[in-house]
């Protein structure tokens, strides 16, 4: 029986990161609004939808679907009068001509995380992450819950990203240097 228990403990498998429901909901609610504070986003998307892509590992497909559903429920394909679409994609799909206006990255392997961030930097699109500790891979935003709700903005990436945001955004975020 002891051996069975040990075997189960160290079993290597591929399923099931447990996400915090409230945090997923908070991020689904606030991340799209943060994206819409990007300068010129309205002008760039005249009659075209803003695309917000949830990037996920295959085992997190259910979670990614849930986020897309939440965003659709909150915004019904439109935010601030601009057409807005939440989509989902695996890291393998990140090949040109893949298009998106922002990434929301769930938990992922280091390699996939870096690949997605590099892609975003090339395309000059902001990256939002589920886990604030993943800011170190070069993501720009993370929302977490401390004494209150805190939006972290990665100062180290801001320069590289080359995206501009409405100035009032900077008064509500907390800057960190994570690389």
């Amino acid at each position: 029986m002891r051996y069975i228990a040990l075997l189960l403990i160290f079993w290597q498998s591929m399923w099931g990161y447990t996400y915090n429901e409230l945090l997923l909901d908070a991020q689904s609610r606030i991340y799209p609004k943060l994206l819409m504070l990007e300068e010129g986003i309205a002008a760039r998307h005249n009659n075209k939808p803003v695309v917000f892509t949830v990037l996920y590992e295959p085992e997190d497909e259910f979670t990614a679907e849930k986020i897309v559903d939440k965003i659709e429920a909150y915004y019904d394909h439109s935010l601030g009068g601009i057409s807005f679409e939440a989509e989902m994609a695996t890291f393998r799909e990140l090949e040109p001509p893949f298009h998106s206006d922002a990434f929301y990255i769930l938990k992922a392997d280091e390699e996939d995380m870096k690949r997605a961030v590099d892609f975003a930097l090339r395309e000059k699109i902001p990256v939002f992450v589920y886990d604030f500790k993943d800011l170190k891979y070069g993501a720009l935003f993370a929302l977490t819950i401390e004494q209150s709700t805190v939006i972290y903005m990665n100062r180290a990436v801001l320069q590289k990203a080359g995206t501009l945001f409405a100035p009032s955004l900077y008064s509500i975020v907390r800057f960190v240097d994570a690389e």
């Binding site: 029986m1 591929m14 447990t18 606030i30 209150s148 409405a166 955004l169 900077y170």
Partner: protein, 691 residues
Amino acid sequence: MKQFINIFLTISTFYLAANGSDLNVKNLVKSIGKDAHEIGKLAEQTKISEPYQPYIISVFSGKELEKLGVSNLKEALQLVPGVDIATDNMDNQRLVFRGSNPFAFGQSKLFVDDVEVNDLFFDSYGAWLSMPIEMIKRIEVTRGPGGISNGVNAYAGSIRVITYAEHLPMEGNQKRFVVKAGSYDYKMGGAVFRHEADELSVYADIYYQQDEKSLPVGKDALSTRRYGAVNVPLSRDGEAPLWMRSYMMGLRVQYGAFRLDARTLYYERGSAFGINGMLPQPSDHAKFPFSYAQVSYEKSFKDWIISVKGGVKLSSFKSASMLAPQGLIFPVTLTSNGFIEQPLAFPDGFYGIHEVNQRQIYQSTYATSDGFESHRFDFGYFVSKDETLKELTITTDRSDGIGLLDYSEILPFTDPDAERTTWRVFLQDRYRYSKSLTFQAGLNIEKNNNISTQFNPRVSAVYQFDSSNVYKLIYSRSIRTPSWQEVYTLNNSARVGNHNLDPEVVNAWEGAYIHRFGIDEFVQLNLFYLKNSDQIDNLNSDHQYRNSGSSDIWGVTVEYKTHILKIGRLYFNFTQLNGKKSNHQPLDNVAKRLAKMTYHMALSENWETGLIARYVSSKKRATYDYRKDKVPAYSALDLTIGYEGGKGYKIRLSAKNIFDADIHYPSEPYNYDTDFPAEGRTVMLTVAKAF
């Protein structure tokens, strides 16, 4: 870098002015602020922001506990750091927080959906510990004095059980059915239901469960000469009846700001080890029914939230049991002049039917405001009146030892005319000095007709060094009011009430350091020093409840929670504590080391496994106990395998205590020599369906 940001901001401003935007930026930012505020409130309500709150709290999600194979509230609470289980002759189990007085009930309080449910006689919540985990959405345990519920300063810890009556905006109206079967012929069926229409919402839960448990126990208290040498030959060993029949129904109806909460628990079980330490008959039993109904009104006015509540609780204790075996000889006989010292034999044994029905009526009002710059004020009051509605004492005739006689008038087992009025006033201010430093100070004033006015202050500071490192310092004082049993028990040689008891008092100093290294991933170090005085027990030759002395307890708890390989979640805690009583003797019946570990892992898209390990070190017995051996340490391992299919089906098979560890809870001196046994290896099968 700051220079870069400044330049960046300036450029952005010019850019915006030059290009304009279709979006109303001001409204968007305002809306983000509103969202963040609402999410912050939900986070505090659900204790997700716990690491930053001025308490030491453990939070367990019901669904995560289900995945681990936890079956009921008791099993869940055994995972709390520094918590051990103690029991007594009636198997009325309670939690022992950090080694604090394992002989007393009421040192911790249990709240179900914010209603305190400790019974009114023992101040115990043992009957609630079998509540199936499928009925529980979340468990929040505050370690140490100072409850997280307004106006209640629990002594050693407070437990908040939140059922699925709580409904958050992002949650659907789920319906659930569950059936379970397991060892000792355990059977359970239950359901959770919720319906919402406009401003009206209705929630209901219901379950029934039963088992046929009995456990082998050694020679009973008669063998210790506690009831005289003449009765020693009557001592028996055998199967202690621990069977259980229980049901619960809960209801919440909300309409706008008005809410009705009602819940009734029926709990009946075998008489366990016998109230007086003599092995009972298999059909002997005790019942602990408890019901409450509460009406509340909560309304926001600008920066204020006002909450007005009023309710009634009905709590009973009923016992029908053979309290002493056939042939027992009592040293006294009841005559028209009272008891005289003349031995009396009970050829058919000594049978007792005892019943007490009590009622509490209460009302409270609390107000909270965060409208003052950096301050959040809470204040309010609570008043209650407890009284006995019915008292029944029927026993074998104590003048000739034959037949039953109603002694409710002349020899009641509890004072039928006793009443208790309690009032509490509560005020608190949380002051956010800066983004990283928060202070909280509060005062709880309590008075009832058994104790003098008590002032219980609580002060704390939380310092958030950065996003990952948090420090806490807490001082608090709290009391435990003597329970009804300890004050009003009459005519019982094993339990003698005392009207002159002072409340137990604890002064607690605590420090904590939390390092967060991810979402739901942290290490926490908690240091505590508890100075207890006026501890109550009846461990004396008269068996009278007395303030027997004081004790100092100090220790450290380490908690660690992390994800492993993205598919597993590990939680571990370890507590090392030590202490001494005022007479410099070690603490009685206290485990100095406790370790708990849980591990959950997904095996495939549908299959998962859960593992729970617990270690409780040995316990040194009281110095006057003639048994010089320690209560043995034990380790237990539970293993669960689960399958979650489509359409909301879940099946779980759990093997608990898989190595059949020998687990015993300590008995008091001159009771069962062999202590009180707990279950060995058991299995549990659960099938659930969500709609």
